[in-house]
């Protein structure tokens, strides 16, 4: 075991640090949620473009498609530097963490060439069209169907909870291409242009008040056969690749945000007074802040350990479920602690730009999106520990 950076890693870190120092933009101060089209969205998109042009997007992606060709472990260094520099997150998160890696592992050379660079530059924003009203945890029971018509598939059906569909240019869509075989065997993954005729996006408002996920309707949407990702009727294995990447990688960028939240809370705890002293001197709340620090640190370490282990694997294994459980449940506990530390002001939309009340509510989605906590525990129990299947 050696956590010292070797000369190459040091060079990588120093270059990245210098680049960030020179390029991180002033924080966004305007109005608007980051996932809605508007100034904030444009700000983040411009930032990602700069990151891409600087050569820092898609670290472990192949060089010929605009990536850096670095090893997975560099991602750990990247995350820490990103947090340190307080750099904004990358907007095309679904493209970067799950869809791009799926295209890398299942795509044709033409697809890689066509799609990957524009994911990295955020020129094309992606969404993930898996869930349907009647197919959530059991996503393989999906009903959106695609029928072959010459060199096109005709897609009809509905997706739901599709994050970023309202801003997306492309969608990784799961459809049923053969209804007469067991459910896992008749699924195909398609790369669908969201600007195609017949695609209707209807935003759904979340309990936070934002509308960052959507219903998406497909009405005779024509998708060229060349946009099948993987093989026809073998889409389930493509989907598994996506889900594995989602569990393993979504947490990486999220750490940066969590660390900033924690630092902000510690800062605030010194300013807010209760019972005649700063909250930072309240022994009960100190314990809770320390607990949060500890859990976040352990998440960071487990993530680094997983990257170290995944090094030579093209698709992350079930250990991704551990990371997903760690970050989602941590964030729920943390945002509750934040509410307690901040006290009554935390509920105000006018306090700290409303971020605490927003985050508090937003965390409820954390244990549902990217596979519920129950499903992750099923995966750990059955695939890691080898317990008998429960269904």
């Amino acid at each position: 075991m050696d956590l010292n950076l070797n000369p190459d890693e040091l060079k990588f870190r120093d270059e990245l640090r210098a680049w960030l120092q020179a390029n991180v933009p002033a924080p966004f101060t305007g109005k608007g949620g980051e996932e809605e089209k508007g100034e904030h969205f444009d700000y983040l998109r411009a930032w990602q473009k700069k990151v891409y042009e600087g050569g820092w997007a898609g670290l472990s992606w192949p060089k010929e498609y605009g990536g850096r060709g670095a090893r997975l472990i560099e991602q750990a260094i990247f995350t820490e530097e990103w947090a340190r520099a307080e750099a904004p997150q990358l907007i095309n998160v679904l493209g970067l963490s799950l869809i791009g890696p799926t295209i890398i592992s299942a795509g044709t050379p033409e697809q890689k060439e066509r799609f990957l660079p524009k994911i990295l530059s955020a020129e094309e924003i992606w969404c993930q069209g898996f869930s349907e009203p009647n197919a959530g945890s059991d996503v393989a029971s999906l009903g959106t169907k695609a029928t072959l018509d010459g060199d096109h598939f005709i897609v009809n059906g509905q997706k739901i909870w599709t994050s970023m569909a309202h801003v997306a240019d492309w969608c990784l869509l799961l459809v049923r291409t053969d209804p007469n075989v067991p459910k896992h065997k008749g699924i195909t993954a398609l790369l669908v242009d969201m600007h195609s005729t017949g695609v209707t996006v209807r935003p759904l408002r979340q309990m936070t008040g934002d509308a960052s996920f959507n219903e998406v309707f497909f009405d005779n949407v024509r998708v060229p056969v060349s946009n099948v990702l993987g093989e026809v009727n073998k889409g389930w294995s493509t989907a598994i690749t996506t889900l594995m990447n989602e569990r393993a990688h979504l947490g990486t960028g999220i750490y940066v945000q969590f660390k900033r939240n924690l630092d902000q809370l510690v800062e605030r705890s010194r300013q807010i007074r209760r019972g005649g002293r700063p909250v930072s001197e309240d022994p009960v709340l100190r314990q809770k802040i320390a607990q949060a620090y500890m859990e976040l640190e352990i998440f960071r370490l487990t993530n680094t350990r997983a990257l170290s282990k995944m090094h030579n694997q093209s698709v992350p294994g079930p250990e991704g479920s551990i990371l997903k459980l760690q970050w989602s449940e941590y964030n729920q506990r943390f945002q509750q602690i934040a509410m307690e530390v901040l006290g009554p002001v935390a509920q105000l939309h006018g306090f700290d730009n409303g971020q605490w009340v927003f985050n508090y509510l937003r965390t409820r989605g954390n244990t549902i999106e990217a596979g519920t906590s129950e499903i992750q525990r099923n995966i750990v129990a059955e695939r890691v520990l080898g317990l008998p299947k429960s269904y």
């Binding site: 075991m1 525990r377 317990l387």
Partner: protein, 375 residues
């Protein structure tokens, strides 16, 4: 950067696992537990032959001179076997001597510790049961060229088998470290039966015990530094031991869940049971991340090491107890029996949770570093 045990470390760990499976099966643990001091000399000598009693002791003093990461790889296996006896105590004392002693004292004590000829422990706590050395009250008054000690130490691990007891005492305002032979006249060692019978606790009474001034290891601020550093070493080893214990509990529980049938199915088919096991796994992997990192940080003298050790101990303290709770629950009635070996691990987990400070204690340390020192 490589965040995993290296190949040689994995080999070392495997050999330790094989060793303890053979040399310290649960029957042996029970046998030792029932004996006076939970100690077996032949087993200790075998461990010494492997070099483990001197694993991190410098080669010039007869040790292997390996790193803390190598050490925790072995200690994890001791935890998996629930090894009784004074390994952690001796490790703590050795680390303390190594930090605080003169060249001559290090030679005098570390050589025989490496060889397996000397077992030791540290007497720090008193009636106040406070892990902070500032709380030490036991007086070691100077009388000419001697120290005279009268009073009591409590919660001393393994005092009945330790040949050498390092006493933390107060002389005037200063702390002083005094190595004392267990058989020195005026010392009485009284067992204080406690939850974990595989690692026994004692009170030590000192009745006007006199020691030559020259025997002291260190005075004043150096005591504090040496105590802090050696406690960190022992604490991270204890965490690794807790990790091994948790792994045993999970493996045993999963095995049981696969075989025990109720309602015509293995109970492991039911998600209520599956999720208990999944959570145990989550806690174990979290503990592993924290422990490996802290051990590495300590071995590299990383400035964040102290915080990392408190993170590890705070986490392991809660996790080891929680893993035990769930293990017992999944076993049902059989898990609540004296017969079942779960109880050995369950009790060890509780005693280890307390040793060197529980989660509340270490969260307090973390809060000081994260809230007060970042201001």
């Amino acid at each position: 950067m490589d965040f995993d045990l290296s190949k040689p470390q994995k080999l070392l760990q495997q050999s330790a696992r094989d060793f303890f499976v053979r040399a310290c099966p649960p029957e042996k643990v029970r046998e030792m537990m029932a004996s006076g001091a939970a100690f077996d000399d032949a087993l200790w000598r075998e461990m010494a032959d492997q070099g483990w009693t001197g694993l991190i002791i410098p080669e010039e003093f007869g040790g292997l001179g390996l790193t803390l990461v190598d050490l925790i790889a072995v200690v994890e296996e001791m935890g998996r076997a629930s090894l009784p006896g004074p390994f952690i105590s001796t490790l703590w004392a050795a680390a303390l001597i190594d930090r605080a002693g003169s060249e001559g004292q290090r030679k005098q004590y570390l050589d025989p510790i490496s060889m397996g000829d000397l077992k030791a422990t540290v007497a720090l706590l008193e009636e106040s049961a406070d892990w902070d050395p500032d709380a030490v009250q036991l007086r070691a008054d100077r009388d000419g060229r001697e120290f005279r000690i009268s009073g009591r130490k409590d919660f001393v691990n393994d005092a009945a088998v330790a040949d050498l007891i390092i006493v933390v005492a107060r002389s005037g305002e200063d702390l002083v470290l005094l190595p004392v032979d267990r058989n020195t006249p005026g010392i009485s060692i009284i067992e204080t039966p406690a939850i974990d019978a595989t690692r026994k606790l004692y009170s030590i009474e000192f009745d006007n015990v006199s020691l030559p001034e020259s025997s002291a290891l260190a005075y004043n601020t150096r005591v504090r530094e040496a105590l802090d550093a050696s406690t960190e070493t022992a604490m991270i080893a204890l965490c690794a031991e807790m990790l091994g214990g948790m792994e045993w509990t999970l493996a045993t529980t999963v095995e049981y869940a696969k075989t025990r049938q109720q309602f015509d199915k293995p109970i492991g088919t039911y998600q209520a049971v599956q999720h208990q096991c999944a959570d145990m796994f989550l806690m174990i992997e979290s503990a592993r991340s924290a422990i490996y990192f802290a051990a590495w940080a300590l071995s590299e003298n990383d400035p964040g090491a102290r915080l990392a050790v408190s993170v590890a101990k705070a986490y392991c303290s809660d996790a080891a107890r929680e893993v035990g709770n769930r293990g017992v629950q999944v076993h049902g009635g059989i898990g609540f029996t004296w017969e079942h070996n779960l109880q050995l691990y369950y009790k060890r987990a509780k005693a280890s949770e307390i040793m060197f400070g529980d989660a509340n204690y270490h969260r307090d340390v973390i809060a000081r570093k994260v809230i007060d020192e970042t201001e």
